[in-house]
């Protein structure tokens, strides 16, 4: 295995008020595993400031006893406190990280800000909120939109992670699918098995998988799942039967839209969506890949 088996340099973790420290620990673990710098990006939604200036705007505080008018000053103060609290948690989680770590606060449109900060050699990590209410908010949609609009690979993290040990699974259309190399890099770093689920059927003669196994010393298992619809939970469970994976890697555009999110929800493990070759250069034609 080459010294740098992947091209990622940085892990960008999108953070919002109420972000859980388990997400931060997971980000630190992955950054450590892949020797990435870590950026914690706290996003202040400028849309809330716009809303605060609309006369009838108000917010419902579940723990605060009902409806309250949105005061811009109060909003700023609350954002500042939330940012400070999250920074403390983030820096605490990252203190043992041997690579660099940084925490930044950005204010603006969430989707644009997130997309603009990310680079082609980034992995942006988005943790799905545990609460359906949070998931229904526009900010989460903007966060996902921004992530997939960026040039970076995207990691979707479910609210509750079922396993933190186990093989890394690559879902590949062919033996040359970029997801295989991405999954191999993580499996190698994590000293786990690599399982390849080949959606177009096994190409038994393809020498690339054998060469990858020889180069890395990885235990590689190949499974055929032709024409499987992974967005369907039942089909997904069938494809992953007897696999207790810790991470799934897919290639953006290789699967139907929404498949990555569906796999995340069905398997309750993080899913990394990597870029297909050549796509990074042309953002305008990039599929969303969700």
């Amino acid at each position: 295995m080459p010294k740098e088996p992947h091209s990622f340099k940085r892990l960008v973790l999108g953070l919002q008020p109420g972000a859980h420290d388990r997400t931060m620990r997971l980000a630190v673990e992955l950054a450590d595993l892949l020797h990435l710098d870590l950026l914690g990006l706290f996003l202040q939604d400028s849309g809330l400031y716009d809303l605060a200036s609309i006369p009838f705007s108000r917010e419902f505080r579940p723990l605060g006893g009902g409806w309250h008018a949105i005061d811009p000053e109060r909003l700023s103060r609350d954002f500042e406190l939330a940012a400070r609290s999250i920074e403390r948690k983030f820096m605490d989680a990252a203190k043992r990280l041997p690579t660099g770590s940084q925490f930044e606060v950005a204010r603006g449109s969430i989707a644009q800000t997130f997309a603009s900060v990310s680079r082609i050699d980034d992995i942006v990590m988005i943790a799905e909120p545990g609460s359906p209410a949070e998931r229904a908010t526009q900010q989460f949609s903007w966060l996902v939109e921004g992530a997939f609009r960026s040039a970076a690979a995207v990691m979707l993290v479910p609210p509750h992670i079922a396993r933190t040990k186990g093989p890394v699974v690559a879902i590949a259309a062919s033996s040359g699918d970029p997801s295989i190399l991405g999954a191999a890099a993580i499996a190698f770093a994590a000293k786990e098995e690599l399982i390849i689920i080949e959606t177009d059927g096994l190409d038994a003669d393809d020498p690339r998988i054998r060469r990858l196994a020889d180069d890395t010393g990885l235990v590689i298992k190949r499974m055929a799942a032709p024409n499987v619809r992974l967005a369907d939970p039942a089909a997904c469970a069938q494809a992953f039967r007897q696999i207790a994976e810790r991470l799934v890697v897919v290639t953006r555009g290789a699967l139907a839209e929404g498949t990555a999110s569906a796999i995340t929800a069905a398997r309750r493990v993080p899913v990394l969506v990597v870029e297909p070759p050549g796509m990074a250069a042309d953002e305008s034609t990039r599929p969303t890949g969700r």
Binding site: G47, L51, I54, S57, R58, F60, P132, A133, R135
Partner: protein
Amino acid sequence: MDAGITKTVVRPLTAKQLYRPTDLSGLTFSTTAELQPIDGLVGQARAVEAIRFGTRVAKTGFNLFVIGPNGARMQDAVKTMLAAEAAGKPGPSDWVYVNNFADPAKPIAIELPAGRARNFHDAMNKLIDDLKSALPAVFQGEDYQRRQAAIDESFQKRQGEAFSALHDKAAEKDIAILRTPLGFALAPTKNGEVVSPDEFSKWPEAKRREVQAAIKELEKELEHIVRQIPRWETERRDEARQLGRDTAKYAVDQLIEDTKDAFKDISRVVQHIETIRADLIENFGMFVIKHEDDGNEVRDIRTGGPLDRYEVNVLVTQDIDRSVPMIEELHPALGNLIGRIEYVALHGALLTNFRLIKAGAIHRANGGYLLLDARSVLLEPFSWAALKRTLRRGEIAIEDIGRFLGLTSTVSLEPDPIPLKLKVILFGDRMLYFLLAALDPEMAEHFKVLADFENDLPRTPENEAILARLLATLVQREGLNALDRDAVALVLEHAARSAEHASKLSLAVEQLREILIEADFFAREEKRSVISRADVDNTLNARIRRAARLRDRTQEAILDKVALIDTAGTHVGQINGLSVTELGGFSFGRPTRITCQVRPGSGKVVDIEREVELGGPLHSKGVLILSGFLAGQYALDTPMSLFASLVFEQSYGGVEGDSASSAELYALLSALADVPLRQDLAVTGSVNQHGEIQAIGGVNEKIEGFFDICEKRGLTGTQGVLIPQANVQHLMLRKDVLDACAAGRFAVYPIATLNEGIALLTGLAAGVRGSDRSYPLDSVNRRVEDRLRAFASIRRNFANQSNSGGAPAN
């Protein structure tokens, strides 16, 4: 009648009277190897009866207090007896402590048949091991995870659908749900962005109102959904909990049944295992892999790890093959006696649980015998009171004394008390027993049986044979060389000397054991396989030599005339008294010069020792008796007009005892009669008001003390010691003294009355009153009486003169 002039002659004692050799004629043996060893108690019939009674009466309060002299090895003897008593009796139950799931601060005690506690402990450990693998496996299993996920999913779905519907409804009206730092808000949007305030203000009034109304309606729905979430969450938790219970029950049931099966004959154990089943099912959450969200859950540290509370703390277990326990606690501190609760420090706090309960000696001895040294119990704080409290309660309650004293303020335990069925045997010396009996009224309540060990036994040939067998036992037990016949005889003679009685044998077995060990050492040094009389003699001499530094220095002072003692010639008002010093278990005698001065006075005999507070009460009593004797014996028709002073010359320590009172009286009579006393004789013995000489202690050491001085100065053949006739039976003198007496170079005189003594000391007859009520001329008594009358006359004359202007002295 002039019969009183007859001089009484006191004959010195013969060698036979000075030492009684051992009579082993009834016992045929050449060495102790041929003797049948003897176990148990020798010559202790009274104690044996008491111990037998005390151990057989199984009623409250009939515990034993065993008293006796030091070195009697009472513990060993009692243990041997108890072992015989206990043989064949079934052992007591085992006891364990288990967790009280209803109230962990009050651990539960469970009784099991002997030897089963360890089985219970092992069975529970196996159950715990099985649970450790079975429970996580079932909770990590696909089935549980799937069902749990389904419950979560259902909850998420319900919430998700509600919010999704709201989201869609809002989106239709170009309204977005936004997350604020503290809650949720609804905002008008355009092209996926929140409408800016400028643009909003430019909207027509009707549109603004329409949007506002739409937001207001959506707000109601948002609030309605959010307020339902806690109820949905409660429903989810209930479903998840029921799933957990069902899953745990499935995993636990068979393991519990298997564990129960081995103890179905012990209902209390079965009941406890059932409690464990219920607890496992109720607390299945301990075995579920926690989501990282729950990582901060505080564990119940008081009970250790999640499964530790199912463990069994074996407090006491009995070997099934052994009979009743017999425990000797050498360090009866409170915790060692009644058990203790230990603590572990965690994060600066002291924590405990049922597994940290430790048994005390009472637990271990329960159902059998507990042997304690009374002095040790009394020296340990709280132990004596705790022992009495335990005996009174009839159950063993572990007390955390640190709590009572306020030394620890942490949460502690109140373990179930354990029923007490115990015979306590206290060992102590007599003084301790009598003090306790006098000062602690509870002692009689709890220690109703006294076993009083004899100091000695009569020296009959039968008892000598028994003691010889006891020596054989000691030799065998200690792995020593056998003693030959003569060695045995000497050891027995030493036992008589230790008993301070030629007709008794000391039962200080420990002392005999020490002598045997030392004699064995000498024999082995000489490469001999049998201990001879010479070895025993060497031992006895060596023991004296090691301890006799002070004796030697004292004798040295006398020989160097630093301490003035005459051993020849005569002197008026001066006599050699004898005293005994005991230090560190070694006693030696030494002569002390006693002098007396007389003159007319008011009838007072002054004890200078008492005046300077160097004399003890017994000594003062002896001197006062002298006054009584004088008053009743002489010049009965004349007021006592004597002033006499008595002193122990060169005595700088205290003087106690009345054993020198006869010597003091001899000195007083000598001074009054102006008759010199022989200085080659020394005197010991107390005297009563009738002039009878009474027995004293330490007679052997006193004789030997004077002999040593005389022998070192050279025996003249006239030297000797006057002892009370009653002490003749106590004589077991050293061989060199015996030899000197047998050769006529030293003498021991038995004295019954003062008259016999004064005659021997002065060479004059004491004198007995004749029919004319007067003493014969030239008798000592006549001289004394005449002198007293003369003093009275002087005093009378002086009084007459003083009436004319003078004043009487004293």
